[in-house]
């Protein structure tokens, strides 16, 4: 509300408010927007807490700049979802050297223990869970097409890696096609159309996110081949859940966006108050299929 | 024998797609002479010169310069060999200073670091030698056209070349500068420099050239001595037929007032301009450079609005805020700089012609292309525009033919009041006569015409009445009968003399 904004102009916690800087990688990302919802819900339930949200637009350099801005504003704690996990340690060092607690959310990496705390799950795991379910549905054999998100982005790298790890373990499974549709439904549709024209036999299209998976489903439906192909996504967005419900999307992976947002902010506030926090706060992935989809549909309502 | 010649070009042929610009022509220039190159628009003069300076490569031909055969890879090559050129189209770098423009490409420098002071000093020295008074530090864009031309001239001279090509150097400068240029040419000649001189002005031939060569339609016609030259013979060589009297003025019936301009003023550019033009009348506006003639026409035409004053057309006051308003009230303006404000270079001749008049070709939602084609064809024939067809890009036409196409634009529109600002700039004799006849024809049809021209014979030959301007003011009016070159000059410079 208004009061909070006024406080932000003071820019510090001198008036007793706790200021948390939230460095998010991409406001355009739908899943992250649910995460932000979780944070906002939680923030509004807290008194004397103000959260400054910034958007790095998937630019690690910009994120570093924003954290620097937080530091110069002297926020009480930083909550960050790294744009990428390679440059993250460096940013964490910055915060540490200024003694500002920093909580990393959602994207895990090796040196994450340098941060005050980690809240989230292991991205690789999403890819593994997704492909394991696909493998199960295919009976451990078949031709798989992998649809990548925007190349070089954390989710793309790890989810695809997870996919590939599973395929490697299944001797009768093969990745026959692999291309990027940049997390975009229209591009997913186009890519799937082109794949279908290639004449290659495809038993499953495994996508880095739900949007592209929906695009693929639409292309398959159009070509009358949806029956023959298992489509899998990640995120369990409301749209995607509808597709799971109707049996078109066989697999998706629920990552508790709101839970991570709330958990991350909660931890950051605790750290800002100087309270002790757990180093690792796991929020597990959950597999969504036709069987349990109603549960998740309820979550969005 | 060949030592006498600084330049021998033989059998030079150059074809552009669709146009044989040069067909096995020759040009022999003796050492230390001024050699004129004459010919109608599009005869191929500039093309041959561009070959000589290394801009184009000939399809065929032998060029011997200073005793050795010449093969040029680029302009720098030619400059290094001792050939420099004043180009027909002025090409300054407007944002750079005079000094930078003159020494562009050969700045005094150490390891790439330009010695700014030296640059200015060198320019000053050059200007001293040439007796010119231009600030080397001025930006090119601040110079008048005449001074821009003078800078280009001094630039060409500054290379200390053996041969200097001058492609219509006097088309944009005034009496004073012309004299100055001729003085320079004479002194260059004394130093043994040879000059190729291109012009459409006959009188210049006799004044400074030793010999001249004539081209016609890309072919060599002949070379003669300039002494004892008869104008008729020259014209015969150039156009291949005899031209009748240049000004064939048929008196038109002069009736009601078509346009009256009342107390037009704009900043300090034009002051209290009032005049009238009647139907059938040709009014000339004369004046020294910068006297504001163009500004007057452009203000009337709504190109830039005047600060005060108003305009009446057929006795009715009209508000003109843009050229659109002007056209709607029955006016037309042929601008003085066709490249800048006339031509649509990438478009076809036809598209260039119909712009003003386009509303008349609208049939339903579309344009009536047949009617467009027939109307344009008529103009094409009437003005004898030299182009293979009307779909040709206008950029491929020679300057004179481009000018004719622009005149066609206004003829198609057929305005009641027509402003012609330097209508024959850069146009050859043949075409000039045609344009003059056209102007008379228009007047005879009852059009009111205002002509600006810097060539006094032209203005005297065309006008029923001449308005003389100076520093944005009208200094006086002369009727056709009383007007003479001397009287115009007197009015144009009166106050300056008084001062």
């Amino acid at each position: 509300g208004c009061g909070q904004e006024a406080a932000s102009k003071d820019g510090s916690s001198k008036d007793g408010k706790i200021v948390i800087g939230a460095a998010l990688p991409d406001f355009d990302d739908k899943w992250l927007s649910y995460l932000q919802d979780g944070m906002k819900e939680y923030a509004s339930s807290q008194k004397d807490v103000e959260v400054i949200y910034v958007d790095a637009m998937n630019d690690a350099n910009k994120q570093l700049s924003q954290v620097e801005n937080f530091i110069s504003q002297d926020v009480d704690a930083i909550m960050m979802i790294p744009v990428d996990t390679v440059s993250a340690p460096n940013i964490v060092d910055r915060a540490n050297s200024e003694d500002i607690p920093i909580v990393i959310v959602n994207r895990q990496y090796e040196e994450v223990d340098a941060a005050t705390a980690y809240v989230g799950s292991d991205s690789l795991k999403a890819g593994t869970m997704q492909m394991e379910e696909v493998a199960k549905l295919l009976g451990g054999k078949g031709n798989v097409a992998i649809m990548d998100g925007v190349m070089g982005h954390d989710a793309q790298i790890k989810r695809t890696q997870g996919n590939k790890d599973v395929v490697e373990k299944n001797k009768d499974m093969k990745i026959v096609l692999n291309g990027t549709a940049e997390f975009d439904r229209a591009k997913g549709m186009t890519l799937a159309e082109n794949w279908l024209q290639s004449g290659k036999e495809i038993n499953a299209i495994v996508s880095n996110n739900d949007e592209m998976a929906i695009g693929a489903i639409m292309a398959l439906e159009d070509a009358g081949k949806l029956e023959d192909v298992v489509v899998a996504g990640i995120d369990a967005t409301p749209d995607a859940l509808d597709f799971v419900k109707s049996g078109k999307l066989k697999v998706t992976v629920f990552q508790d966006a709101r839970g991570q947002g709330k958990g991350g902010l909660e931890t950051a506030i605790k750290a800002a108050k100087g309270e002790k926090v757990e180093k690792f706060n796991w929020i597990p992935y959950e597999l969504v299929t036709e069987d349990n989809v109603d549960e998740y549909i309820k979550k969005w309502e | 024998m060949s030592e006498n010649y600084i330049l021998q070009m033989d059998n030079v042929t150059k074809e552009f797609p669709g146009v044989k610009a040069l067909d096995s022509v020759q040009l022999h220039v003796e050492r230390g002479t001024v050699h004129a190159l004459m010919g109608e628009n599009g005869a191929g003069k500039s093309t041959l010169m561009k070959i000589l300076i290394g801009i184009y490569t000939p399809d065929q031909g032998v060029i011997k310069f200073d005793g050795e055969e010449l093969h040029l890879a680029n302009v720098k090559n030619a400059l290094d060999k001792g050939i420099s050129m004043i180009h027909q189209e002025l090409s300054p770098v407007p944002q750079m200073t005079v000094a930078e423009n003159i020494f562009l490409g050969r700045e005094p420098s150490i390891a790439g670091w330009v010695k700014q002071k030296k640059l200015v000093e060198n320019t000053k020295k050059l200007f001293e030698r040439l007796e010119m008074d231009i600030n080397p530090r001025a930006k090119m864009e601040e110079l008048s056209i005449a001074n821009t031309q003078m800078v280009e001239i001094s630039k060409a001279i500054s290379y200390n070349s053996k041969l200097i090509i001058m492609d219509e150097p006097t088309s944009a400068i005034s009496e004073k500068e012309v004299h100055h240029l001729f003085k320079m040419i004479k002194s260059l000649k004394k130093d043994g420099v040879s000059i190729i001189y291109i012009t459409h002005k006959m009188d210049e031939l006799e004044m400074i050239t030793d010999e001249f060569t004539v081209f016609r339609d890309g072919k060599y016609v002949g070379t003669k001595h300039s002494k004892n030259l008869s104008r008729e013979e020259l014209i015969q060589m150039m156009v291949g037929r005899e031209l009748n009297q240049v000004f064939n003025k048929v008196p038109a019936e002069i009736s009601d007032v078509a346009l009256s301009v009342k107390h037009l003023s704009k900043q300090n550019k034009i002051k209290d301009i009032s005049f009238e033009v009647k139907k059938g009348e040709i009014v000339g506006i004369a004046g020294l450079m910068g006297s504001g003639r163009t500004e007057v026409l452009e203000s009337i035409f709504g190109v830039h609005a005047a600060d005060s004053g108003y305009i009446e057309i057929h006795g009715k006051k009209v508000a003109i805020r843009s050229p659109r308003d002007a056209i709607a009230s029955g006016m037309g303006l042929l601008t003085e700089d066709r490249k800048l404000s006339g031509l649509f270079l990438p478009l076809s001749v036809e598209d260039n012609m119909i712009t003003v008049n386009i509303d008349r070709y609208i049939k339903g939602p579309f344009l009536d292309k047949k009617k467009i084609a027939t109307d344009c064809k008529k103009q094409h024939n009437r003005l004898k525009i030299k182009t293979p067809n009307l779909q040709q890009r206008i950029n491929n036409l020679s300057g004179g033919n481009q000018q004719k196409a622009l005149i066609a634009r206004w003829l198609l529109h057929d305005p009641e009041i027509l402003f012609l600002d330097e209508p024959t700039r850069g146009i050859d004799v043949g075409a000039k006569t045609e344009i003059y006849n056209l102007i008379f024809e228009l007047a005879n049809k009852g059009k009111a015409i205002v002509v600006i021209s810097s060539e006094l014979p032209e203005i005297l030959g065309l006008s029923d009445r001449i308005i003389v301007m100076q520093e944005g003011r009208i200094m006086g009016e002369l009727s056709r009968e009383e007007a003479s070159q001397e009287k115009i000059m007197e009015l144009a410079t009166r106050e300056l003399v008084n001062n």
Binding site: S33, G179, E193, W195, Q197 | P323, G342, P346
Partner: protein, 333 residues
Amino acid sequence: MQRDIKITEQIDTHTHYRKLQKEKASHFLGKYGMLLILIALVVLMSILSPTFFTSGNLLNIVRQMSIIGIVAIGVTMVIITTGIDLSSGSVIALVSVMVATFAQPNSYPLVVAIFIGLGIGLLAGVINGTIIAKGKIAPFIVTLGMMTAARGAALLFSDGRPIGNLSPTFTFIGQGTLLGIPVPIFIFAFVGIFSYMLLNHTKFGKYVYAIGGNEQAAIIAGVNVVKYKILIYGYAGLLSSVAGIVLTSRIASGQPTAGTMYELDAIAAAVIGGTSLTGGIGTIGGTIIGALIIGVMNNGLDLLNVSSYWQQILKGAIIVIAVLIDSRKNKKA
């Protein structure tokens, strides 16, 4: 003589383009040069991939390209006037979320959604045109601003989330077929023909070329340059709307991130198709060929399962090489 021509070209900025239509022969090549490159590309792809040259796949390509193609047609007109439009992709996104909001089943009649969609793009285009024409600001900057702002507005309006659940009548636009041919292809064809007529057979079209050929001369010739520029950018915006509506209908959801970088594909299509960035030159037919070249390239590389990294490298190279070959060929002629 090779060298000579090179120098000629340097001397005259327009020579490059002039060459395109200098003579009947080179005129032919200039006009059909890119068509030949398109055909060469099609032949190459057909050899490399047996499934490429099937009617199904060819329809596929045209349908996929129809969205970029529609945008590119508007962009072509803008470029002919020496302008540029960087905002197309973002306008598509804004239109997408707005249309999706009004195209929910049982809410508004279909026409309302469509009119709102068309209106948004038209408005964005008119704003572009007005600032460019009245403010005399470089189109690059104005449309860059619009690109940023419209994307922000799309995100703001949709709260960064896709809007799904669209009515089936609406989704017919992008997904349906008529006589076995996808509806987007009909829309593309209609836009193409309409724009062709507009550009070649109307006063509007002549003015587009005139403004691009010499704006100052157009003013003197009485053309209301401000008005026509606003109309031209408005038309480009309108076509972005059409593209946005087709896209939204095709993917059955309004996407605030839709259309990212489409402006670059559209500009590339126009330029590959012979539109000159220095103004005055360009055709609808050329642009459609340009769009198809991009479409064939995208489709072919996917069919061949070229890795996405290599796809980008190849696409970059092909765009440049196509334009390069085209300009070379014209020189030879």
